[in-house]
Amino acid sequence: MAHFFYQTLVGQIILMVLETLAVLVPLLIGVAYLTLMERKVMAAMQRRRGPNVNGLFGLLQAFADAIKMIVKETVIPAGANRILFLFAPFLAFALAMLAWAVIPTGNGLAVANINVGILYLLAVSSLGVYGILIAGWASNSKYAFMGSMRAAAQMVSYEVSIGLIIVSVLLAVGSLNLNDIVLAQRHIWFCLPMFPVFIIFFISALAETGRAPFDLPEGESELVAGFFVEYSSLAFGLFFLGEYANMILMSALVSILFLGGWLPPIGVFPFTLVPGPLWLIAKILFCLFVFIWVRATFPRFRYDQLMRLGWKVFLPFSLIWMIGTAAFLMVTGLLPQGGGMN
């Protein structure tokens, strides 16, 4: 049996498909329940009850929403570029799924444990702009176009500081492999020595995923719904799924870079009993909770404030932090030597 799966081409392909499904199915269920979690948590913070009609505690609400969305009619505006209009949501959705290939849920437990894992993540997340830009342009609508312009500018701006913060983490790790990044935090999670950039990274992640208080691209008071204003039915649903999958992805990234991934807080007896994937899920859930908490707490930024924060505060700070980290590691001799060896 093992021979069939590891040695023959057909077996390998079947194995690959199974591995992919093992990541994607829990992810999609996670997205479904994230929407419920968001509504429940927001409701609790605003002293409401939230969805509680469909199923026990509203547990079936996500599926009711999904069915409603699927049976609606897909409307394509008359002036829209049909092919690109329909292509954009698929692109956005596919990219959100693609990034999960490299996320390790345990020691070596990833669909693809590649050497340039973190660069792969950066590459895929930088592609996310296209889904939005194409959607905005192909809709042939002012609101959609303005929304997509904002979204693209916002994502490109915050990617810069995210990149620089990742570089400072990588300096301390000495490898681009996500597995190595987690293993380097055996003794201390990076969120403690790098606390300021941990916070900046989290805020940048909010901006990168277009979440409140940085949800300018879909600012409903000015742009109705932003880049997906013309979308309905399943096409809208794909954007929605992509956005929430990206939220989970960013939380996973924060957990891996700063919160020790699948590692327990302290490597002693009671903590080591819990399997690694559960630790990672707990950390992701914590990050998601903070995402929702922030949404329920802060009012939306103005567009120029957003840009100023990105370029004039976060970028210089993360640049200085990167140089400082390099200098500190160099002076104290802690710089990982022989890094990047297989």
């Binding site: 660069l119 950066l122 592609l127 296209y130 830009l133 342009w137 176009f145 990047g340 297989n342």
Partner: protein, 236 residues
């Protein structure tokens, strides 16, 4: 077997999309095909074992450069019929350039000798990832050239800033401290308006009789303007 197949798949799509870049009528489609081409080039790097370069190509070219292209091209207001008008006039010059370039290509390809040795993979010393190998090359052996590249980019960046810099003091500027220092007592005036009495004399406002549109664009109403329209309304 599989690497060859993947190589031919990537290179076929790369060539087709490269042709589409110049043959697509819509410039936005051209840029999107360019992105597909970049993406397949990254795939080719992966096949050659240069994973770091592949990711860098996607991050830099697809993630940043092509986004700017797309920005600019989406904003363009192009009249397609006008574009095609010039084709006839410039055809002769175009053909000349084409012939010269094609001849040069022929000469170059004609003198190309395929190496009999198969190409080694693009990774460094055994056991070293190609990120480390590349870093070793750039930062240890060719550091001066690398710094030179950086300087050139710096000059380009400063140039771009100088070109787009507006003189200080022009344009609207937000002074955040001043905004934050505002207190209600400075900006708010409480008016005690008795019931049933108009507030106009005490600082309230009425809607202007002629609309903004009427005053700024004279004769913008088909007949008689706002005043006439008001009269009509009264009669009804």
């Amino acid at each position: 077997m599989l690497p060859q197949l993947v190589f031919y798949l990537f290179s076929t799509v790369l060539l087709i999309s490269a042709v589409m870049v110049i043959s697509a009528r819509n410039p936005v489609h051209s840029v999107l095909f360019l992105i597909v081409a970049f993406f397949n080039a990254a795939g080719l790097f992966l096949v050659a074992g240069a994973e770091f370069l592949a990711m860098l190509l996607v991050i830099v070219y697809v993630g940043a450069v092509a986004v700017l292209f797309l920005f600019v091209v989406m904003m363009l207001d192009i009249d397609f019929t006008k574009l095609r008008e010039g084709l006839q006039q410039h055809a002769a010059i175009g053909v000349c350039f084409g012939v010269v370039l094609f001849a040069e290509l022929l000469v170059a390809v004609g003198n190309w000798h395929m190496s009999s040795v198969s190409v080694t993979r693009l990774s460094g010393a055994p056991g070293q990832t190609n990120t480390a190998a590349l870093g070793d090359l750039i930062y240890t052996h060719y550091i001066l050239l690398f710094q030179g590249c950086g300087l050139i980019l710096l000059v380009a960046m400063i140039g771009a800033i100088v070109l787009t810099l507006r003189p200080v003091g022009s344009g609207r500027r937000q002074i955040i401290d001043k905004q934050h220092a505002r207190v209600p007592s400075e900006t708010l005036e409480m008016i005690d308006a008795p019931l049933g009495v108009g507030v106009i004399s005490q600082g309230g406002f009425l809607r202007p009789h002629t609309s903004y549109h009427e005053t700024s664009v004279p004769d913008s109403y088909a007949s008689g303007g706002q005043i006439e329209a008001d009269k009509k309304e009264k009669d009804v």
